[in-house]
């Protein structure tokens, strides 16, 4: 029986069927819809904050300390500075410990101790922030005898550490082993390889983890309630009660005064802008050091 000649060559391009095109469009539309769903709350929060808060932001708000009840005006300058101060302390304590622990887990932690640290970090991540505040109160405030910026910084640092540790570990594990071998092959010691090659290769991921942790704790109120405590005046002493934006927003928001409510909205807007600003600044600064094609 003769072989029938194929009617079309198997290499010809058949047009994509209507069904497949429809499916393609449908799935694309679903994905776009999901993106819109994610972005809407963010945009809505920001728009509402601007709407409620922008009217109360003026030069006095940014440069003055709060006025006593009944007096108009005043601002949150000390709270803005206090937040920055406490976050700086938290970062100085939390970032080195978090990155250090992440390095241990990724490079040396394939043992029982490593598993224990991983488990601890994951549990710590789930501990309610108010509990972290109590712990910092017990460790720092009670031993010092008074509320302080340091206690607030320690509380926030404890909250930053698990996020930084786990993201650092993940990012270091993404660095191919061939890169480490290249360094060992040049006679570079193991610790030098870890710091100068592996960590450097993973820098942008590690920075993302640090910024994630930073942004998460920047707006925390509960851990500061009985650590930093808040302050109506300027304070730069590390062992004295210190104002923070989140605390100021909290106490103003639950007050019975309309003027304070308006200032709380303004404070919230400033807080968001500062967090976004800080994260963007670090990203841009880190991106500047990158090379073409890296």
């Amino acid at each position: 029986m003769p072989n029938p000649a194929p009617e079309t060559s198997q290499f010809s391009i058949t047009p994509v069927s209507l069904w497949r095109r429809a499916t393609n469009n449908l799935v694309t539309a679903a994905a776009v819809g999901a993106v819109i769903l994610v972005l809407t709350p963010l945009a809505a929060i920001f728009a509402y904050l601007v709407y409620k808060g922008i009217g109360s932001i003026n030069w006095a708000f940014l440069t003055q300390t709060p006025k006593p009840v009944g007096e108009a005006g005043g601002g949150m300058a000390n709270a803005i500075a206090g937040s920055a101060y406490i976050l700086a302390i938290a970062s100085c304590v939390g970032v080195p410990i978090g990155i250090g622990a992440g390095i241990y887990l990724a490079e040396y932690g394939r043992n029982r101790l490593g598993d224990l640290i991983r488990f601890t970090a994951d549990v710590l991540n789930g501990v309610p922030s108010i509990v972290v505040g109590i712990v910092a109160y017990g460790i720092v405030v009670l031993s010092q005898g008074h509320f302080s910026a340091l206690a607030g910084g320690v509380a926030l640092a404890i909250m930053m550490i698990p996020t930084i540790t786990r993201t650092t570990e993940e990012m270091l594990l993404l660095v191919p082993n061939a890169i480490r071998e290249a360094a060992y092959g040049l006679g570079v010691t193991r610790w030098r390889t870890t710091l100068s090659i592996t960590l450097r290769t993973a820098t942008s991921g590690v920075i993302t983890g640090v910024m994630l942790a930073f942004a998460r704790v920047a707006g925390e109120t509960a851990p500061l309630l009985f650590t930093a405590f808040g302050n109506q005046y300027w304070n730069w002493k590390v062992n004295q009660p210190t104002a923070a934006l989140s605390l100021q927003i909290f106490s103003y928001a639950i007050s019975p005064f309309d003027e304070w409510h308006r200032q709380a909205w303004a404070g919230a807007l400033i807080l968001i802008v500062l967090i976004v600003g800080a994260v963007s600044a670090v990203r841009i600064a880190a991106g500047r050091g990158m090379l073409k094609g890296a």
Binding site: G187, G293, A294
Partner: protein, 252 residues
Amino acid sequence: MGVGIKVEHLNAWFGNTQALHDISMDVPANHATAVIGPSGCGKSTYVRCLNRMHETIPEARATGKVRMGEVDVYNGTPAVQIRRRIGMVFQKPNPFPTMSIYDNVAAGLKLNGYRDRRRLDETVERSLKLSALWEEVKDTLRKKSGASLSGGQQQRLCIARALAVEPEVLLMDEPCSALDPISTGKIEELIFQLKEKFTIVIVTHNMQQASRVAEFTGFFLLGKLIEFDKTEKIFTTPSDKRTEDYITGRFG
């Protein structure tokens, strides 16, 4: 100048699996020595034992005697010093992705504490010229990342990086297996020039390559050294039946 390596009764393990059985195979100075054999025969493990890269793998260990010139590789000298004198080029090009071309080549020196800018500049230029990459990258040394080069260029960059620390021996673990024929040709040419200054050990799957570049060839099978002789002898009149079977393509 290159130095020779003497290897006596070398055994290597991964955990409980023995990968090398009683290997005694010397590498003569200032020549290229090829190591051939089917996949999993222990060629890579053999060269990685020469500069103690084998022990960087968890649960891997080795016993036996390896001497480089007057130095006992496994006794009394820290592994990092051995690796500075016995450089290595890997199968897949592995430049440091966040470093510029210049920093890639200078990495071995910089990370070992050299800071003299002029000496670094000279070393980078000399190493890139040796690896025949200088003309292609000299204008973008500091601007472009090592990872932005093509595969063949990356491998020559890795060779330059290994040469920059001025080793006496260069181990090449299938350096051309990820490269096209033109890049392979360039690297083979390079091996010809390099063996005037260095001792070279090259692991290869490509028997033509072994016969082109190496004066001596060792044939490995199942973790054992079957035959080691002049390359010409191995490829024309091998004394072992298994070597003959392998090079004539009857297995492997």
